[in-house]
């Protein structure tokens, strides 16, 4: 057992895949440059050759479709989009093509393709260099969507994604790159068997996150403990197809649900979790109304003070939990000011 960082987990997955599976290749923009993908692909082109780690022309859509085509012909292509925002140019290839070929041809064609979309935000990068669009893509049948929050999952979900015969969108987040896990040696993972995971046990409230926001929840645990709140954190990991069992079981125990998501509220991942839990639990099971913390329904601003206002923080999590534990305690504050930007309703009414 040893400790690795999230970014090292991604690198380790690449080594495992490229070393053991000759049909795997990686393709995308900036793969020979640490400038694009950080340390997550360091020296892969040197070790495995530039035929298997291909840096490409500036063609997101073409490259994704090319990876799809190779994946229909015996290869396992991992196509990398160093920024998810630019991946939007490839939506046709992902949604109309890769996700639909199996169904369209009666289950006889399986593009064994993985698309890696990196969330890269903060640092005053502005609206086109900030997006977390997992909710969008999790809406699409035929496209598996995974989002690691831990260093172990950064490695293992990438391995599972590439070894899956179905198209998979793997979303890593640069804000997670320094998180650490203790891991054993990498091994082949069956993605179809992966489910949401409980990362901490508690009986007072269920906290659900994915990717970076799961880290935020873990970082909030000690603050919550100081207030005497024992929270259960569930990490979604696999957003599509989603298995709500562990979430429903947890909320049945705690009676309280807070979902924290780094995307927007409307038709978003947090809404889906609240809906899934609501459908599965009797009315009497709820001790408080379920709550969401999301981004305001606005594109990302640039200036650092606005950025701070924009993104969820541990203190916003702690305040929301306190409100759920004792609704009367914080209700006046919630209604009063700008600082409660996590409450979507108040943002809209502003």
């Amino acid at each position: 057992m040893r400790q690795i960082r999230y970014s090292e987990g991604i690198l380790e997955a690449h080594h495992f895949l490229l070393k053991n599976y000759p049909e795997v290749f990686v393709i995308g923009q900036g793969l020979w440059s640490p400038w694009y993908v950080g340390a997550t692909m360091k020296d892969l082109d040197v070790v495995y050759g530039r035929d298997r780690v291909m840096d490409t022309p500036v063609s997101e859509d073409g490259t994704t479709a090319i990876a799809t085509g190779a994946s229909l012909c015996g290869y396992r292509a991992l196509v990398v989009h160093p920024r998810m925002d630019f991946m939007l140019l490839a939506v046709n290839s992902m949604v109309n093509q890769a996700a639909k070929w199996s169904l369209m041809l009666g289950g006889q064609a399986h593009p064994a393709l993985t698309v890696r979309g990196i969330i890269n935000r903060g640092g005053e990068q502005g609206a086109q260099h900030s997006q977390a669009l997992h909710s969008w893509f999790a809406h699409i049948p035929g496209l598996r969507v995974v989002m690691p929050s831990t260093a172990a999952d950064a490695r293992d979900l990438l391995i599972g994604a590439v070894l899956s015969n179905d198209p998979v969108l793997y979303i890593d987040d640069r804000w997670c790159y320094d998180r650490t896990s203790v891991v054993s040696e990498p091994t082949a993972i069956n993605l179809a068997r992966q489910r949401p995971q409980r990362l901490s046990e508690g009986e007072d409230i269920t906290l659900v996150g994915c990717g970076w926001t799961t880290g935020l929840l873990l970082d909030s645990l000690s603050l919550l403990e100081q207030q005497g709140v024992r929270a259960e954190v569930i990490d979604l990991r696999v957003l599509n197809p989603i298995d709500p069992t562990s979430i429903a079981e947890s909320v049945a125990k705690t009676g309280r649900l807070l979902v924290v998501d780094g995307s927007w509220a409307n038709c978003g991942m947090a809404s889906e979790i609240v809906a899934l839990a609501s459908e599965r639990l009797p009315l009497g099971a709820w001790k408080a109304k379920p709550q969401r913390i999301t981004l305001p329904n606005v594109s990302a601003p640039s200036s650092r003070v606005c950025e701070e206002h924009y993104y969820p923080t541990t203190s916003k999590v702690v305040r929301a939990v306190a409100q759920l534990m004792d609704p009367e305690l914080l209700e006046p504050t919630l209604l009063s000011g700008r600082e409660v930007n996590f409450d979507t309703t108040s943002v809209i009414s502003n």
Binding site: A67, G69, Y75, S102, H110
Partner: protein
């Protein structure tokens, strides 16, 4: 600016085609396949009118020579990709007539198990990986198959069929650039029938010849009369051979004309899309009649031979149609299992 010139003039190229480099056996095989394709499409068109076929069917009647000419030099191990109008592409490499009929009828025995209909065909056993209708969508996917073929290193080729409308999509240019830059064994086949769904190419592009884009991307190209099966196959042989020898991609522009409307059995003469006189002239450039005339001129066949072929094909198609009509529809929930391979 390159232009099609007389190739786009329907009063030209109406005589017997030259069969100089062919032989009686292969020319008659091409003729048989063209009759088969036309017979299949006429039957499907009639079944749409009768209400037996419900899915949208885009017929390629009048364009048969291109798929037949291209397919002569393809192998079952090559990877072929089509479009919304791909009955000929599927049939010309040996895709099952019965599987196609069953598919357009929505039967569980269809080539795509009734999940696709006319616009989503597959016959991987003969190299036809798939056809789908988003315009230009399969061009970069085929380039990916060409990348796979290059990695395999055993002389395989990938083929993308597309129309003159698809070259107006961005993915087309990304595909040509990539295939050229990485010297992939990729054959681009543009069936330039002069129309998108409803607009003439002159209303959409500053030139009516799309091979100019191959030049821009340093891809070897050939421009041919797409209603001359011999001209199509001769150009394909050259381009495919270069692919197999590792010399990089080729681009074939074949000029043709579809006799029916964009979708369905109608001719679209009454909706202001095209002029009836053009339509009549293009029918004089019928790729099948011209091949028959070429065969007679070369002394390789006579009219009675053609009648025999047509009868044989007709009986084969009738049998396939009857069989498909009698097949069951899929169970209503079968589709639920097809999104993912593993559950």
């Amino acid at each position: 600016m390159e232009q099609l010139g007389t190739l786009a003039d329907p009063s030209q190229f109406t005589g017997p085609i030259g069969l100089g480099e062919s032989d009686a056996q292969s020319a008659l095989a091409s003729l048989r396949m063209m009759w088969l394709i036309r017979g299949v499409e006429e039957r499907i068109g009639d079944a749409v009118i009768r209400g037996e076929v419900k899915c949208p069917c885009h017929l390629a009647i009048g364009q048969e020579a291109i798929a037949v000419g291209v397919s002569i030099y393809l192998r079952p191990t090559d990877k072929i990709f089509g479009t919304h109008r791909s009955h000929p592409h599927y049939l010309a490499v040996g895709g099952s007539v019965y599987g196609l009929f069953a598919e357009v009828l929505g039967k569980q025995t269809g080539c795509s198990k009734g999940m696709g209909g006319s616009m989503h065909l597959t016959a991987p056993e003969v190299g036809f990986v798939g056809s789908v209708p988003i315009v230009g969508g399969t061009i970069p996917i085929a380039v990916g198959a060409a990348l796979a073929a290059k990695k395999d290193g055993v002389g395989g080729v990938a083929v993308a069929y597309f129309g003159d409308g698809a070259v107006e999509e961005g993915a087309f240019h990304e595909s040509l650039n990539f295939a050229s830059q990485f010297a992939l064994p990729m054959l681009f086949v543009c069936e330039n029938n002069l129309y998108s769904s409803h607009l003439h190419i002159k209303e959409r592009q500053p030139s009516d010849s799309v091979a100019r884009f191959a030049t821009a991307h340093r891809i070897n190209s050939r421009l041919v009369d797409g209603n001359d099966v011999e001209a199509v196959s001769a150009a394909t042989r050259e381009l495919v051979q270069a692919c197999r020898e590792g010399q990089g991609p080729g681009f074939l522009e074949a000029v043709t004309y579809r006799w029916r409307g964009h979708v369905g059995p109608r001719e679209d003469l009454d909706v202001g899309v095209r002029r009836p006189e053009d339509h009549q002239l293009w029918k004089m450039r019928d790729p099948i009649a011209r091949l028959e005339n070429g065969l007679i001129e070369s002394g390789w066949a006579q009219v009675s031979d053609f009648e025999k072929i047509r009868l044989e094909v007709s009986l084969e198609l009738d049998a396939a149609w009857d069989r498909a009509m009698n097949d069951p529809l899929p169970e209503a929930d079968t589709y639920l299992a097809y999104s993912f391979e593993t559950h």
